[in-house]
């Protein structure tokens, strides 16, 4: 880089053209009497730290120990660099660079500070009894939120950078003596292979590393809850934190993990089991109820009890459309209502949703566009699809409903069975980080059944799920690895 301060500064100015927030402060270090300059980006740094902990000590404090740094400062995290590229990335990531006349090194002082929001309740994954803390946009803070739950030296963090331009920081967190190292290798190699400009969001990252991008089902858990992330880490899974994104990726996932919620473990086990069974029921209802309606009234009326059949037929005679069109009409209206609900501001959204739903439902029946039963079917489908705790799984079901309806319209109940069989075949062939997605059902793992359809008391649940193939299968006791790193 050279020794002359003025040439170094010239070079910096050249590199950062059209950067009005670049600040260069000239000063003389009190301890040695040499000239120096501080270079930083005003927008990414904490000004108070610079003034109180860097400028003040530099200007006022006496002689220093020559072996360390040739200046005084209160900042703890100081790195040295000699390359221009290091300097550039340090400045851009919010560090302050201290250049000293006659010294070939540049000193990078950690002064990061940018606009942050306060910790809030998670928006999508609300919970009744869980913590009211959601992840934030700052990766280091998210790590802090997780670490607070697990003060364990085995909680390891690997840092990676993804993106040529964005240089997004990504951290893999895992319990070194629990998580399977083979899975970790797979995850690392997939992350390393990503070749993009930048990763804006965790959802984007998922697309680059998931096993089957042509599946409607989510293959990784995306969560905004630190507590559920920790619970997954303890089960032997790994978390990927992406800087600037408030959702954390957890891998590997299985189909049933999307039906588990953090509340399951804090409510009484019987109630939790009941609610979990309810979710599986809701999954089936949301998937096949409209399809079953179509199949029943266009092919298999024999299965409907006579009294119900008479009332269905009575309300159907007023409807001029075939059952599929009738169902599509209502389902698409519902999907539109749901999508528009996201865009509307919260207080208005609810009103519009309820009023729109009631008015459209009521008047569509009166106008003879749809039948009464169809409105009931659509409404219960909508309710059922909201019960599933994972938003990604919920949307997958919302989408799959439509092909099921079409196939039911063509082949009746046989069609629904065909659809379900294709679905099951797809589910068992899916993988997440190379581990079977259908586990613990296919391949069947008896010990994992304790936390699948029901949740048995926690005291009886001594083993970690086999589906993550953890190094250490028993929970609890002091079976942590002795010593430090492996």
């Amino acid at each position: 880089m050279g020794n002359e301060l003025s040439t170094k500064l010239e070079e910096v100015q050249k590199q950062f053209q059209l950067t009005p927030d670049l600040v260069v402060r000239h000063l003389t270090i009190q301890a040695t009497g040499t000239k120096a300059a501080l270079v930083y980006l005003d927008s990414l740094t904490d000004n108070e730290v610079i003034n109180n902990d860097i400028v003040n000590p530099l200007l006022s404090e006496g002689p220093v120990n020559k072996d360390e740094h040739p200046f005084h400062t209160n900042v703890g995290n100081i790195r040295k660099g000699t390359e221009w590229a290091d300097l550039e990335s340090a400045i851009l990531s919010g560090d302050t660079v201290l250049l000293i006349d006659g010294n070939p090194d540049a000193f990078f002082l950690d002064t990061k500070g940018w606009p942050k929001r306060a910790i809030e309740d998670p928006q999508i994954e609300t919970s009744l009894k869980g913590a009211h803390q959601g992840f934030l946009e700052t990766g280091t803070q998210n790590i802090a939120l997780i670490r607070r739950y697990l003060p364990d030296r085995e909680l390891k963090i690997k840092e990676l950078t993804i993106g040529v331009r964005g240089k997004t920081k990504v951290w893999i967190m895992y319990l070194a003596d629990v998580a399977n190292p083979d899975l970790l290798k797979v995850l690392e190699s997939r992350l390393a292979a990503i070749d993009v400009d930048s990763i804006i969001n965790t959802g984007e990252l998922v697309e680059y590393i998931e096993d089957n991008p042509y599946s409607p089902f989510p293959q990784f858990i995306l969560t905004e809850r630190p507590d559920s992330t920790v619970s997954q880490l303890l089960q032997g899974r790994m978390a990927v934190i992406v800087d600037c994104s408030p959702s954390v990726l957890v891998a590997p996932a299985t189909f049933i993990t999307f039906f588990q919620s953090i509340d399951d473990y804090s409510t009484r086990w019987m109630i939790a089991s009941f609610i979990r069974l309810l979710r599986y029921l809701a999954f089936i209802i949301a998937l096949i109820l409209p399809a079953t309606y179509i199949a029943f009234i266009s092919f298999n009326y024999e299965v409907i009890p006579m009294q119900l059949l008479l009332s269905i037929a009575e309300s159907r005679t007023r409807v001029p459309f075939p059952p599929l069109l009738e169902a599509m009409l209502m389902e698409i209206t519902l999907e539109m209502m749901r999508e528009s609900g996201i865009r509307l501001p919260a207080p208005v959204g609810q009103t519009v949703g309820i009023v729109g739903g009631i008015i459209i439902g009521q008047t569509a029946v009166q106008a003879g566009i749809v039948s009464n039963i169809m409105v009931i079917v659509v409404a219960s489908t909508a309710i059922a699809s909201f019960i599933i705790p994972s938003y990604d799984m919920g949307t997958a079901i919302r989408l799959l409903r439509f092909p099921m309806m079409i196939i039911a319209f063509m082949f009746g109940i046989v069609g629904i069975i065909i659809g379900l069989m294709i679905l099951v075949a797809h589910l068992v062939s899916l993988e997440s980080l190379g581990t079977p997605y259908g586990s613990p059902l296919a391949p069947f793992r008896w010990s994992d059944m304790k936390d699948t359809f029901v949740r048995i008391p926690l005291s009886k649940m001594v083993k970690r799920p086999e589906s993550t193939s953890p190094l250490q299968s028993r929970r609890g006791k002091d079976n942590r690895r002795a010593g430090g790193n492996p």
Binding site: M306, Q307, L310, P323
Partner: protein
Amino acid sequence: MKRTLCCTVLVLMLFLTGCTDRLSVENVTFILLVGIDVDEEDHVVYSLSSPVFSKEAKKKEEELEVRAMTMRNARENFDRSVVASTLGGKVQVILLGKRIFEHKDWFQLMDVFYRDNKDTVLPTVVLVDGKVSDLINFAPKDKPRLSTYLTELLRTSHKRNITVNTTIQELHRQMYDKGITPSISEVRKDKNLLVMGTALLKEDGRYALMLDPLANKLFSTLREHRSGEFPITLTMPSHNEDSFYKLNKLSITATDISTKTKVKYEDNKFRYDIKVNMRVTLSERLYPINLDKNAKKIEKEIGEELEAQYKLLFNKIQTAKIDPIGLGLYARAKEYKQWKKVQDNWGEALSKAEVNVKVKIRIMSVGSIN
């Protein structure tokens, strides 16, 4: 790439096969009642009744009657007249006129119900004492649709064991099993619809006799699938009936019935020993008696009275040379060699058999008052 292509082709092939047998619910005329009868000129007449949903229609259902060669042929005639295509998948009741039972082989007319897999084997078979057309055109103002009304009526009267409930599936078995003869519900339409009891048929399908509700209850206690309530009112001969109101009556409800049937072949005939254990609650008593002191006596009296009734029932059955209870099934199971000899003439053999019924009564409750 190959896989994607393969999948695409498969999906496209789904669309190739037609949607040909799709028929939406509103385009179907559901036949709910089917009637088969023989008219005065000895022609077989088919009739049907199906609900109408159109708002413009004033009547709730449409009825049609045709002379036809077969049931399927009759459907064609219906299709020429009714609003939508007729479909037999929801038939509730099959009404058979009494004149049908004058000739054997009538059962062959029902072939289509068993053969066509779009039809159902669950409708109840009913014998109509009178003309089927009178019943099927009956539209009472104070009752729901005839099909609904009739179905409910048969279901509830079976629950109280006034009549049996024989589906056509069950009828098929009763017709072809050599160890049992058919029994079906019998109704009559005078001013109102009335469930008369149970019609018992001969092995070849001809009409044999009718059981009134009381006889049907006793009959039902001996059958393999016992269900519902058994309220029985008895006349106690040990008490005088000089009162104007004939107060020697007692009503019981049998709650817990168990039977044990033993069969033996001795002296060139079958001998049946049937033990009936009943736990009853007393629901009505018109003559004065101290129930606490005389419980044992009453139990015995009821038992004897019931035994007499059973004897009457078996007399009727044996004279008619039929076996609606299925005693032949016991003979086949226990005395196969002897059964084999007489199986084609089982009614005859049973009429010669000796049947003893022993009834044991235990009163569980005498009600709220003494």
